[in-house]
């Protein structure tokens, strides 16, 4: 699928999010539509993975196990979900006090951000944690 869309206007949105989330680390990677958050989390930034069905299949096929928030650590995956729909994913890169984490994720067509769990546009979503078991 050709997910390429014009980048005109995207840079302005990246700048806006840099202002709105000043505590996050906004990486100079993106904006681009080659990959999305799921592509970063599960496909090494190689592709855009569409939606809930595909992500659930990856979680099952690649032997991801659901774990508790208290057990989630660096390298584990966080899934942001609303009404059963998976809308965002990221990789935990740092554990913080009180079960908070720092997460590396890509914000849609925009850029990569390292942010606290709730310091992102998906802050109100349910959060689930997964660890690959091999």
């Amino acid at each position: 699928m050709n997910r390429a869309i014009p980048t005109h206007g995207m840079l302005a949105l990246v700048a806006k999010y840099r202002r709105e989330y000043p505590d996050a680390t906004h990486r100079d990677v993106g904006p681009c539509s080659t990959y999305n958050c799921h592509g970063l989390t599960f496909a090494s930034r190689r592709t855009w993975l569409p939606g809930t069905g595909e992500i659930q299949r990856i979680l099952e096929d690649d032997d991801y196990n659901r774990i508790e928030a208290k057990d989630a650590g660096v390298g584990d995956v966080v899934v942001y979900s609303l009404q059963g729909i998976i809308e965002h994913t990221g990789i935990i890169v740092e554990c913080l006090p009180f079960n908070d984490k720092k997460v590396l994720s890509k914000w849609g067509n925009l850029h990569e951000v390292v942010h606290k769990l709730a310091d992102c546009p998906w802050r109100d979503y349910d959060k689930f944690y997964y660890r690959v078991v091999r």
């Binding site: 699928m1 050709n2 997910r3 869309i5 014009p6 005109h8 206007g9 995207m10 949105l13 806006k16 904006p31 999305n36 958050c37 799921h38 569409p50 939606g51 809930t52 729909i85 998976i86 809308e87 965002h88 914000w107 849609g108 067509n109 925009l110 546009p121």
Partner: protein, 147 residues
């Protein structure tokens, strides 16, 4: 035709930029001021014509990339299923989520019909349901344990 220059699409643009899935896009657009404005002030036929014009060419910027989706959701809010069905039939190579969004919006506005039939001796409570949906597919659902 809707005059793009008179509509503030900044919120919709932001939604599109952040969207990982068409579901996210639809959900957010339903409460977007631009969508509500178009739904309130523009006749369904005019929205339809705007969609046809917008999807004919590849978008050159973010505004053009989001505009067909804004119009589709606005059309769905008008509850005019014939226009929405016509919009869903439009073919485009430039907007990857268009067909999916159109079909979901149409389906939501035209829920499945369920008819119950009695079939003595087939299921325990002698009933099956026949469900049809917008794609004209038929699903037969048995009620209770099959004998």
């Amino acid at each position: 035709m809707i005059d793009l220059s008179k509509i503030d699409l900044s919120g919709a643009e932001e939604t599109f930029a952040l969207a990982n899935t068409p579901f996210f896009l639809m959900k957010r657009l339903r409460s977007d001021p631009a969508v509500l404005q178009i739904a309130k002030c523009t006749p369904a036929q005019e929205i339809l014509e705007s969609i046809k014009s917008a999807v004919a060419e590849a978008p050159k910027n973010l505004r053009e990339a989001i505009f067909p989706y804004v119009c589709l959701v606005a059309l769905s809010l008008k509850s005019e299923s014939a226009a929405l069905k016509e919009a869903g039939a439009i073919q485009t190579n430039h907007f990857d989520w268009y067909s999916y969004v159109a079909s979901v919006l149409f389906e939501e506005g035209n829920p499945s019909k369920v008819i119950k039939y009695s079939l003595p001796g087939y299921f325990q409570d002698n009933q099956v349901s026949i469900r049809t949906d917008s794609s004209s597919s038929v699903v037969i659902i048995g009620s209770g344990q099959r004998r």
